[in-house]
Subunit: 471 residues, 2 copies
């Protein structure tokens, strides 16, 4: 395994020659800034922060690092939730921030060629101006980088109808750990030409190569949507309703679940959102349908309402203006931050087949009681993707350190027992890697290690991520 | 590289003990039957045909073959068009035909657990009975196996709206070359848990593992569609119209292109389809839109018609009954067979970004003139996927052997120059492997070889496929 390698002044000088003096940083402030993402309270500063400007510069950096056994950690928007961008073995922190151009929106082929440091929302808005739609919308879309989305295979609320990041990536330019620059595939919608290097790269969390260009597919933009907030008197029933909606033949463009605490804490955290919630309400579903024909959306909303009326719900709130829609989305998107602002926390990204959601939710609560922790659950219920925020509150440091990991292991065992897995959209990164044995046996993990060795025989690229330590 | 290994009587006896006497065949007839698929006129009989019944039997076969250096070629429905199932190094022909059960249609999660030898159309009809839709529909759906579809990442007419096989595969049970039985992922719609072994297996053409169970996602079935056949007086314009339809914001559920010859030859080949075509017509588009709301489909068909009217077209034929729809689809699906029944042929499976179709078509004709061959083109134009049937006709054997491969190489160079690639849905298999250097450089090919070595260090599984010989 790679060791922390001290960077000599000569090495720093070499790197300076590659990126230029003004794009190399060794000061404490910068190193700290680039030493964290949104994962708990971890800070792992790299020994040096580099901000290269071209794939060729990255190629030179990789060749140099590969020859000298220096760890390189690619760093995107630093919004990750699994610690993929943490420089846990120090070395070079490779900030991609200068790769921030939308190179070409191809309106003829409904594609976009984009650099990895473009902010997801900026990309979504730029293509929207041309009447096109890039659906994946992680809650951090206002600050995360599209390259990070590709690296973690990010999802978001619209994934339930439109798919996750991987479903939009057609082709990637990548700098390999040995400095070679390659394209992984072709700019086509279909491709049966050799092993799928593109999809192998998507979700590999910056451990196989550094993404420098992305060709993505786009779809025509829809003109209308209906958004409804549904209060449930029973949280389990809210989960049950999810599978029933699909069973009725509807694919909503969003189907989000929020436990009572999630929404209460968020209402305190964000401004300008006012909704009154009866005390007996335990959870909400936020449901959106979209399309080009309002009459179809009305019909779909009515079908959904018929399904919902089989459960104990309070009055459904239909958003009656763009402002109200924006307010409800603001509320949903702020849940993560709001919960985290409340306490020290750990966030898990469980995912199961959607019909198993009620069992998962109940199991999480039972496990929490057993190990003495409180959890706040919310997420992309339509995909069976439930974010579990375990909040420290007034738990002792000792219990937080010893009991909570046992509880998390049990939650993951439950998840996998339900044919689900550890992460739906946040990735494994640093914080979940030692749970990987729950999802995979030794055989699969050794295959993954073999793949890693094929791409990165010296193990210099983002070491200590994805695969468990013992491997 | 693996050599043809003679199977001793002792080896045959060992294999008999594994699969049982009645599922091992060494007679010439059976070996010939399992020695070909639909790829040109190739026949490569295996030394022995095995028909195992369980993953455990396959595991034992693989362990035995791995220990003794015996090539194993997985064989599905034998409808492949790139020779992926040909036992080019003899050894064991592993027919999967006894894995023919639909194990569970999960109506709660909209998923199906299926064995690989289920015929695609059987699967589609079984889920349709539950109101569910499995969209991928290769033209060979009446006889191809779903496992072969996964191995080749098959497409079909509906891919343009619904995606290809890979977009429906959630999880795979696979027997590795060393006999280990693994699941590649989880039964979830989203998954960011380790490297994507599932998508690496899809499209790997039976070279990384033997698929024994497949978990696939399903979608709700649509109730209505409109089908129209559009005659163009100019084939290039038919190609041009394709991108324009998407640009108008419509995603048809099928958008197929057929050159004049394709439709003429097929009308002679199939019974019960009668359409009159004016002499000046050069090509047709077959366009379908689907959904649950007829009024929306009428509106979409009208929008499409507006686009089409910008081109030189004859009167559009709207299918006015289920019978007529079936007849038009029968016509389209029979094109491949009809063209092939006419002459010795080679079929290429070019794919480009769809706006490049007119350039591709024109280039193919120019290259054909240069090398003296005739081609008939048709395919999934909405995906930019153009099947090029090169027909021998009265070409000399000499020219067929020496000139045509040069022409094919130029066609692929053109395709890749247009940001396309060699195969959209048929795979590389045996017949395209020595063109792989056009799509990929040495670096990518070595990565693919490294992946192959990780899964199959002794190179026993489907040797001589996908990667070029020199590698």
């Amino acid at each position: 395994m790679i060791q922390n390698t001290a960077l000599t002044p000569q090495m720093i000088h070499q790197l300076q020659l590659i990126v230029g003096e003004s794009f190399l940083f060794t000061d404490t402030q910068t190193r700290n800034d680039y030493g964290h993402d949104e994962t708990e309270d971890y800070v792992f500063p790299p020994a040096v922060v580099l901000k290269p400007g071209t794939p060729e510069e990255i190629s030179s950096i990789m060749k140099f690092a590969n020859a000298n056994g220096i760890p390189v950690t690619p760093i995107g928007g630093r919004t990750g939730l699994s610690g993929g961008a943490l420089s846990i073995h120090q070395g070079i922190g490779l900030s991609m921030e200068r790769f921030n151009k939308i190179i070409h929106i191809d309106e003829q082929n409904l594609q976009v060629l984009v650099e990895p440091a473009v902010i997801t929302q900026v990309l979504r808005e730029a293509v929207a101006e041309k009447g096109l739609f890039y659906p994946p919308d992680p809650s951090s879309q206002g600050s995360c980088f599209i390259g990070g989305n590709v690296a973690e295979n990010a999802g978001g609320a619209r994934a339930v109808k439109y798919g996750v990041t991987k479903d939009y990536v057609l082709n990637l330019e990548v700098v390999l750990p040995n400095g070679e620059i390659i394209w992984t595939g072709a700019n086509t919608l279909k491709n049966s030409t050799g092993y799928n290097l593109t999809q192998l790269m998507v979700g590999s969390e910056g451990t196989l190569g550094v993404i420098t260009k992305i060709v993505m597919k786009l779809v025509p933009q829809n003109s209308h949507n209906i958004l409804m907030l549904v209060p449930f008197f029973n949280a389990g029933q809210a989960c049950e309703a999810v599978a029933k909606i699909f069973k009725a033949g509807i694919i909503p463009s969003a189907l989000e679940f929020m436990e009572r605490d999630a929404i209460d804490w968020t209402l305190k955290y964000v401004d300008g959102v006012n909704i009154e919630i009866k005390e007996a309400v335990q959870a909400h579903l936020l449901i959106e349908v979209d399309g080009n024909y309002p009459e179809v959306l009305f019909a779909e909303a009515e079908k959904i309402t018929e399904v919902l009326e089989q459960f104990e719900i309070d009055e459904i709130l239909f958003a009656d203006s763009e402002d109200q829609k924006n307010a409800l989305w603001k509320l949903r998107r702020a849940v993560g931050e709001a919960v985290k602002s409340n306490s020290v926390y750990k966030e898990e990204d469980t995912v199961v087949p959607r019909y198993e959601l009620p069992t998962l939710l109940k199991g999480i609560k039972t496990i929490g009681e057993k190990y003495g922790f409180k959890s706040v659950c919310y997420g992309h219920a339509g995909d069976g993707n439930l974010h579990v925020n375990i909040v420290k509150g007034d738990m002792s440091d000792e219990a937080w350190k010893t009991e909570v990991p046992k509880g998390i292991r049990e939650i993951f065992e439950l998840t996998v027992g339900l044919k689900g897995t550890l992460s739906g959209e946040h990735g494994i990164g640093y914080v979940q890697k030692n749970y990987m044995d729950i999802a995979f046996g030794e055989v699969q993990l050794q295959l993954m290690k073999g793949i890693k060795n094929t791409f990165d025989p010296n193990g210099i690229l983002n070491p200590g991520k994805v695969l468990p330590d013992y491997l």
